[in-house]
């Protein structure tokens, strides 16, 4: 049985930093297991950042356990438009987060557990960490056919991915985190990780799609709690520490000073969308207006999530050219975001002549433009 306790009853993380022996009977190879009480992806990612930036891991390694309510998490260097269905996510209220480590895009919900292994840069060892996870799972259910690939994935039955990995290396500390699918919603996962956006060209890191399976499908008696316990137990054994999971509240400034600023930063548009590497959109679509079908061609360059250059090719005279160029000019510098584009185009419409037909054409064009975002 793994004991859990509220963090307030234990020493603060920062105290443990200064007095390595506190709270542990045996510090042969110091370790600490912590679990977040929050399911907010931004708060949990902020905890990773905080530990990475503030903790001294010379004598201590940390295992951080966390779960999130539905969210899509993209890698540091990825393009959300390329990776996921942003429209669907907005409808279903699924959050989008960008983490600081590299790697590909994953879908999180409460049926998925996340594990982060914090070590010094010297002791950064992804394979060892994943082997620990496999050992823990096999101890729990020996019949599971799972193994670690050389791409640091964990496969079930040699074909289904149940875990993906990413890492971040700083000057002195490093962390390796991975997911583990216990009982996630596979249908939402596949819908949401399918990008509907066409014509995107970028050198962002692409994700490698894989067939996934939940451990629950293999053995319905498994729950996330059991997996977390098993992994914590294995970690405790390997690091010769107590099976003691310390709960932390990722919004508590007294324990983690400065954490709320970190989670706020992770939620800004500038971080989530603005850090997308430069990309270009080159696409065309059909507009149905009254009885005719119009071909529209759009080319845009997007840098830092903002439209740098924009070109819209419309059939001649369908809209007054002055108006078109006004739209294009306003879009330049604007965020590549449907909300911004809608607000922008509605505001611009106030300056147009009061013609119903013109208004409906304009609205039609702008709606189609926002569909690209």
């Amino acid at each position: 049985m793994v004991l859990q306790s509220s963090f307030k009853n234990c020493l603060q993380l920062s105290c443990i930093l200064r007095t390595p022996k506190a709270g542990f009977r045996d510090t042969a190879s110091g370790g600490l297991i912590i679990q977040s009480i929050s399911n907010d992806v931004y708060h949990n990612l902020a905890v990773e950042d905080w530990i990475h930036d503030h903790m001294n891991l010379e004598n201590r390694q940390i295992l951080f356990l966390w779960r999130n309510s539905p969210a899509v998490v993209i890698g540091r260097h990825q393009n959300p438009w390329q990776e996921c269905n942003l429209k669907l996510m907005r409808q279903k209220n699924i959050k989008l987060a960008r983490r600081r480590s590299g790697g590909g895009t994953v879908y999180h919900d409460l049926g998925n557990i996340n594990l982060t292994f914090f070590t010094t840069r010297k002791k950064y060892e992804r394979m060892e960490n994943l082997k620990l996870v496999v050992k823990a799972l096999k101890a729990l259910r020996p019949q599971l056919n799972i193994h670690v690939t050389d791409r640091y994935d964990i496969l079930l039955d040699r074909q289904y991915k149940i875990s993906g990995t990413a890492a971040k290396l700083g000057r002195t500390t490093a962390y390796h985190h991975c997911t583990l699918l216990c009982n996630a919603d596979k249908f939402v996962l596949s819908d949401v990780l399918k990008s509907p956006y066409k014509g995107l060209k970028s050198n962002a890191t692409p994700s490698v799609p894989a067939s996934v399976k939940n451990l629950f499908e293999e053995d319905p008696s498994l729950t996330c709690e059991m997996l977390l316990d098993a992994i914590a137990e294995e970690y405790a054994m390997q690091h010769q520490i107590d099976h003691h999971i310390t709960l932390i509240n990722p919004t508590d400034e007294t324990v983690l000073p400065g954490i709320n600023n970190k989670s706020k930063e992770l939620q800004t548009w500038e971080w989530i969308y603005g850090k997308t590497p430069k990309f270009s959109v080159s696409t065309c679509f059909n507009m149905f207006y009254k009885d005719s079908v119009l071909d529209v061609k759009v080319d845009m360059d997007v840098k830092h999530g903002r439209i740098e250059a924009c070109n819209i090719d419309l059939p001649e005279e369908w809209l007054p050219p002055a108006l078109c160029s006004e739209l294009v000019k306003s879009l330049s510098g604007s965020k590549f975001c449907p909300n911004e584009t809608t607000a922008l185009s509605s505001t611009l419409l106030r300056m147009c002549p009061q013609d119903d037909e013109l208004h409906s054409k304009w609205n039609l064009l702008c709606e189609n433009m926002t569909m690209l975002m």
Binding site: R90, R121, M127, A167
Partner: protein, 492 residues
């Protein structure tokens, strides 16, 4: 060389290790000789071949040293994700230079030297190739004891933050030059108080420590002038120049404000607003204000709220204000009109599409409720709920945001009494509603009673609307709200 060993261990599964630096010196126009250090990733080289890479320049005063530097390379290509510095920046040892993505890992690369960034060989998001230089750092080699790495004091030292003297107990941060200086003088680094970034021990600190020990007056180091007297006066010991400065400090300490102006371009939605508002102010506005006694309406709403709740709708005051405005517009349709560009024609709009100003993350957006003239108060309330939900989720569509003919701005939810609203073209009138206050008023019998008072401020286009019309409309609107039962007579 902690960095080196760390990387070696993580590269066990990788191919070759990266290697080398080569140092070449070049003379600059000034008298000072400076050195360039190129930071390479070269995974293809074996250690034995390093010597051939290095050139030394004949006329060099200093002996070149070969410094080994390893980056781990699991793949042939890395993507240079993000630069933390730009060309011309001063950088200290251990500062982050850039972040690079490689095989699912995002790596922060820190500087090995203090110096000035001279050249970034890659732009943001470019792919960095193995074997090509990453960044050029110029080290000022003329002023140091040790040739290949000298401590170039960066302006960062002048910050007052780093006054806590705690040495972490694991490693004391100090550059090799500083360590050598300490060793030569038999000084234990753990006894020296570091004043640099991250409690780094700087050459200054060693010299100060020595001065303290021996009481000697040491020649001021070349960069001493750069250090402003005030932050350092507590830590700088007996050098006479500093002593003289030390005395007046508590009296004449200037306030150092290190904030900087920030300039941002106006883009997107804000640019559009600039256009709209500039056009709006070309309209000759006139204002008309009044106060409304909402005591009866407040009571009515209290009675209606639970009913609306049962139907799943949150009922505020706005549906009443909007419906009353629409009833007023039926009598004074000029307020629901639009003037064309040349002021030749006035178009009386048939639909009352009443806009409600909404404050969102973007700024001010004005979705409108369509065809209020045929909507019941409840229908208006549910439509408002829908628009508010979409507005806060940032999902309002173009049809919601366009086609408005008249606008009400309930600024009173934030605060204020009277306002001077700006008409949103192509409309001709707008009303701003202040907050509801409980104030003493006299009733018909001359008694003082508690009244719920709200102020309204109208603005209208004086080219086609005159004060009398606005006043009459306002009085009608006011009468509907002060006596809600009268709305029943005129409801359509």
């Amino acid at each position: 060389m902690a960095a080196v060993t760390a990387l070696r261990s993580s590269c066990r599964t990788a191919g070759r290790l990266v290697c080398a630096h080569h140092i070449r010196s070049c003379s600059s126009i000034r008298f000072v000789k400076s050195k360039y250090v190129c930071v390479f990733d070269k995974s293809a080289f074996k250690f034995s071949h390093q010597q051939r890479l290095f050139r030394t320049s004949a006329g060099n005063l200093f002996h070149n040293k070969i410094i080994l530097f390893c980056y781990f390379m699991n793949v042939m290509l890395e993507t240079c994700v993000y630069w933390y510095i730009k060309e011309g920046d001063s950088v200290s040892q251990f500062d982050s230079i850039c972040e690079v993505q490689s095989d699912k890992a995002s790596v922060t690369i820190t500087s090995r030297y203090d110096g000035i960034i001279r050249k970034l060989h890659y732009n943001l998001d470019e792919i960095a190739y193995v074997g090509k230089p990453l960044v050029d750092i110029e080290i000022d080699a003329s002023k140091g004891v040790a040739p290949e790495e000298d401590v170039v004091e960066t302006p960062a030292m002048s910050h007052e933050e780093h006054t806590h003297q705690e040495i972490k107990g694991h490693k004391t941060l100090a550059t090799p030059a500083v360590r050598r200086l300490a060793m030569e003088n038999n000084i234990k680094l753990s006894e020296v108080v570091g004043t640099g970034k991250d409690n780094r021990i700087l050459k200054e600190d060693i010299l100060n420590y020595l001065a303290k020990q021996t009481g000697a007056i040491l020649p001021p180091s070349p960069k001493a002038e750069i250090i402003p007297p005030l932050p350092k006066s507590e830590t700088v010991p007996a050098a006479p120049k500093d002593k003289a400065r030390k005395i007046p400090v508590p009296v004449s300490r200037p306030i150092v404000f290190s904030g900087k102006d920030k300039t941002e371009p106006i883009t997107g939605f804000h640019k559009a607003m600039v256009k709209t508002m500039s056009a709006a102010l070309k309209i000759p506005h006139f204002g008309y204000c009044d106060e409304i006694d909402l005591t009866q309406l407040v009571q009515l709403r209290e009675e209606m709220k639970p009913l609306a709740q049962i139907r799943g709708i949150k009922l505020s005051f706005m549906p009443f204000f909007i419906k009353a405005a629409s009833l007023g517009l039926l009598q004074y349709p000029i307020l629901n009109a639009s003037l064309d560009e040349n002021c030749q024609n006035v178009t009386y709009k048939a639909s009352h599409n009443i806009g409600v100003a909404m404050d969102t993350e973007q700024g001010l957006i004005v979705p409108n409720v369509k065809n209020v003239q045929v909507c019941s108060v409840f229908e208006i309330a549910s439509e408002l709920n829908r628009l508010q939900a979409l507005g806060s989720a940032g999902q309002l569509g173009t049809s919601d945001l366009t086609g408005g003919t008249f606008t009400l701005s309930n600024i009173g939810t934030i605060g204020g009494t009277y306002a001077k609203p700006v008409i949103l073209p192509p409309e001709v009138a707008i009303g701003a509603l202040g907050k509801i206050q409980i104030l003493p008023r006299f009733n018909g019998k001359g008694e003082v009673f508690k009244a719920q008072i709200m102020n309204v401020s109208w603005s209208a286009d004086h080219r086609i609307i005159d004060g009398a019309t606005m006043a009459r409309f306002s009085n009608l609107w006011k009468s509907y709200l002060e006596n809600p039962a009268s709305m029943l007579l005129d409801l359509k």
